[in-house]
């Protein structure tokens, strides 16, 4: 059978960033990687992603707006038919930058926001004063009429802030809120204290489900917590599941992958097992033939509780967390809070 095309590919265009986030999966710093893909290589990669029939390209980093040729890359991505979006911390989006993004053809932005107050956000993002800069960036995005979503990261002890952040996002006119669970990879490995407990995850999921059920316009999505879908199926009437909720199963290597600034391909930004290198192979070849991707695509290879779970095709466990903790692509996700009996469909 033909390999399904990726729905989504993220390309971390640079390691360079103006922030020092405590959880940064790409270990971004204040300078580009010495082997960063140059403009020609980046354009070639984007063309190959389009040849793989991907639909959406996320340009992120580091901070993608630190890269001098970013507008050219956006234009190129548009020209080869990819829906082009950007993940940014928002701090560099002046009115002029917002206009240039529109002119280049950006179709949406995801802006990270981790607190409803400056102290919470700035502490996590590692630089004082960035909360204000991010809010200014959001305002410039709104003025330029660029669709945007807000992306908070859930953390131990302060996860409840996601609700008020979602309220602000709605007030600002965001199309979605995409919540990330904290996964200790990259620089995040140095800060495991931010990882939520299982009880916190369960409480978050209950709140998330209640909020989405009450919400008529905005969509919530959640990254790295695929058990959420089990809760949705078990507690939400079918009509609402079909019309309101978006499943966020682990798509690493199945419908999504990530390319780093120096050409390494990973199944996910949060699952950093090398699947290939675009300087050595074409992206299409890696997507279709990488052994790492083959393993992740076969849910019948999952082990333990995940292997016995009737939801393995729609959940599959957070492969990133499993890999970070065990080095295995197929071991069970021990953060799953459902009993074996509850995992029968």
């Amino acid at each position: 059978m033909k390999t399904a095309a990726p729905t989504l590919v993220s390309f971390a265009v640079t390691r360079e960033c103006n922030l020092k986030c405590r959880h940064c999966y790409s270990q971004s710093v204040d300078s580009p990687h010495p082997r960063e893909l140059n403009t020609a290589e980046a354009r070639r990669l984007i063309s190959q992603i389009a040849e793989a029939e991907a639909r959406i390209l996320i340009l992120d980093g580091g901070e993608p707006l630190m890269r001098p040729d970013i507008f050219e890359l956006v234009r190129h991505s548009q020209s080869v038919g990819l829906t082009t979006v950007m993940g940014t911390n928002g701090t560099l989006i002046t009115a002029e930058v917002a206009t240039k993004l529109v002119e280049a053809g950006i179709q949406a932005l995801a802006i990270s926001l981790d607190g409803t107050d400056a102290e919470t956000h700035d502490t996590f993002r590692g630089v004082e004063g960035v909360w204000e800069q991010t809010l200014r960036g959001i305002e410039n995005v709104r003025q330029a009429d660029i669709p945007f979503q807000i992306a908070p990261t859930l953390r131990h002890g302060s996860w409840e802030q996601w609700g008020p952040i979602a309220d602000k996002a709605k007030e600002w006119g965001a199309t979605a809120v995409e919540v990330f669970d904290y996964i200790p990879v990259g620089r995040g490995e140095e800060n495991p204290e931010f990882e939520m407990t299982v009880e916190e995850r369960r409480a978050f999921v209950r709140e998330y489900v209640a909020r989405q059920r009450a919400e008529e316009e905005m969509v919530y999505r959640c990254v790295a917590m695929p058990q959420l879908w089990v809760e949705v199926e078990k507690t939400v009437p079918e009509d609402e599941v079909l019309t309101k909720f978006v499943r966020s199963c682990c798509a690493a290597g199945t419908r999504y992958c990530c390319v780093l600034y120096e050409g390494t391909v990973y199944p996910c930004m949060l699952l950093q097992e090398k699947a290939g290198d675009v300087r050595e192979q074409s992206f299409v070849d890696i997507w279709q033939n990488s052994e790492v991707f083959q393993v992740l695509r076969d849910r019948d290879r999952l082990e333990g509780k995940c292997g016995r779970c009737d939801y393995r095709y729609v959940c599959g466990g957070a492969r990133c967390r499993v890999y970070a903790k065990t080095g295995s692509l197929t071991a069970e996700d021990d953060a799953c809070w459902f009993s074996e009996e509850e995992l029968k469909r």
Binding site: M1, A4, A5, T7, E53, R55, V219, W229, E238, D239, V241, L242, T243, K244, F245, V246, R247, S248, C249, A251, T254, R255, Y313, V314, R345
Partner: protein
Amino acid sequence: MKSMPWDEDLWRQLKDATSSMPPFVRRRALKTIIEASETFAQERGSKLVQEEDLVKAAETKTPVLTRRRMLDALAEMGMRIEATEEEAK
């Protein structure tokens, strides 16, 4: 959304296959594909929608913009999708 009985596993596969689509895309795709599947089942004289009805509906009646995504998603759930996208147009 259903107006006649569906094979239980098949209905679940359809729900699973579409659940990662954005809701505004999914609503339209589901409405079309469910109606078409039920029409094909009735044309066969069946009182139950089965896999062949859904596959035929997906290959021929899904809105063009979501067709490839729908076919890929159904294939991922184990259905026998044989038509290429070009053939299905």
